[in-house]
């Protein structure tokens, strides 16, 4: 009998952490923090920490469930083949139990220690990402990430609701920014990963409608995103720093989107790589500016 069969590889804490998609989780926590900081009113620091922890754990659990339900196609794509389930480090059933336990735990904790509005929004976010996006839309329509993007857009509203207990136009505007940002961000990735998606049978826009149509859609969404990204300054949520970041990096975003539209290298897609990076920088800069203004005490513009 071989040694590996006698003593199989132990599933490590690192494997479970990898299931939580830490990089996605960090962006979600960041936008959730912006919602907490931007909301009017105050929250006990430990309650704010608990709210952020619940958002982080629920986001990680959603990622874990996504990996469990998509483990059959993850093994077929270069980008996802080294995830813990296709690598055989964790059994799919264990990942499902882990993911659902964390989801329920995060929502229950949010309801118990923060408020029911935030808990309800958190539960809706997990449901939307796992059931609506992963199980229903992802393999059926090229609009998968357009509609499914709502789940990733909701954390600022959850953070806001954790402080105020309700919703208003301001947090919904932050949600709208991430919602419109998501398609050009993921379509940039899909442009250079289109063969991967085609092999796995995932109907991403470049696979179904072709690259020229995807490039046009990226431009159109970016044209909506840039002014929308500046709108918080007009509504009294953001100040001069926010407006400068939204306008400056927004124009850079648009410039790169135009480069993607005019791209001729369909193999390496260098413009799409750049757009993907700039899109991450854009969202980070917007929410960092929002947080910085509140922490420093810079006044909002309210144009």
């Amino acid at each position: 009998m071989s040694l590996s069969l006698t003593y199989p590889r132990v599933t490590t804490v690192g494997d479970f952490l990898a299931l939580l998609k830490p990089r996605v989780m960090s962006l979600v926590v960041f936008t959730g923090l912006a919602g907490i900081v931007a909301a009017p009113g105050s929250l006990h620091p430990l309650t704010a920490f608990t709210a952020l922890l619940c958002i982080a754990v629920a986001a990680g659990a959603s990622g874990c469930l996504n990996m469990a339900y998509d483990s059959d196609i993850d093994g077929l794509m270069t980008r996802t083949a080294r995830r813990p389930i296709p690598m055989g480090h964790i059994a799919r059933e264990d990942a499902l139990i882990f993911g659902w336990t964390l989801s329920i735990g995060a929502v229950a904790t949010m309801g118990l220690f923060v408020n029911f509005m935030a808990a309800g929004l958190l539960a809706f976010t997990v449901f939307f990402y796992v059931v609506v996006y992963t199980l229903w839309l992802k393999r059926r329509t090229a609009q998968n990430i357009v509609i499914g993007g709502l789940a990733g857009a909701l954390p600022p509203a959850i953070g806001w609701a954790a402080v105020t207990g309700d919703l208003s136009l301001a947090p919904l505007l932050l949600v709208a920014i991430i919602f419109i940002w998501t398609p050009p961000h993921f379509w940039a990735l899909a442009l250079w990963r289109s063969e991967d998606y085609a092999r796995a049978g995932v109907p991403m826009l470049p696979v179904v409608k072709g690259k020229p149509y995807t490039r046009l859609q990226i431009i159109l969404y970016t044209l909506v995103l840039v002014p929308l990204g500046m709108a918080p300054a007009a509504l009294g949520i953001g100040g001069a720093l926010y407006l400068a970041a939204a306008a400056g990096i927004g124009l850079w975003f648009l410039w790169e989107a135009i480069s993607v539209y005019r791209e001729t290298d369909e193999i390496k897609e260098p413009a799409a790589h750049r757009l993907f990076g700039v899109s991450l920088l854009y969202l980070t800069a917007l929410f960092a500016a929002l947080i910085a203004e509140k922490l420093i005490g810079l006044p909002a513009l309210a144009l």
Partner: protein, 48 residues
């Protein structure tokens, strides 16, 4: 062969112990958080 098997077993035991300690510490951290949050909630509801 016996040395290799013993080495494999020792490594397996150590890795499993490390994982279990890490999980226990995480659970303990959650328990402490729940305890502290209970105090925060109690103080807020009693108006202190």
């Amino acid at each position: 062969m016996k040395d290799e098997e013993r080495w494999a077993k020792d490594r397996w035991v150590v890795e499993r112990r490390k994982r279990n300690i890490a999980l226990a510490l995480m659970l303990a951290a959650v328990a402490v958080l729940f305890f502290l949050m209970s105090i925060v909630q109690w103080r807020e509801h009693s108006g202190q």
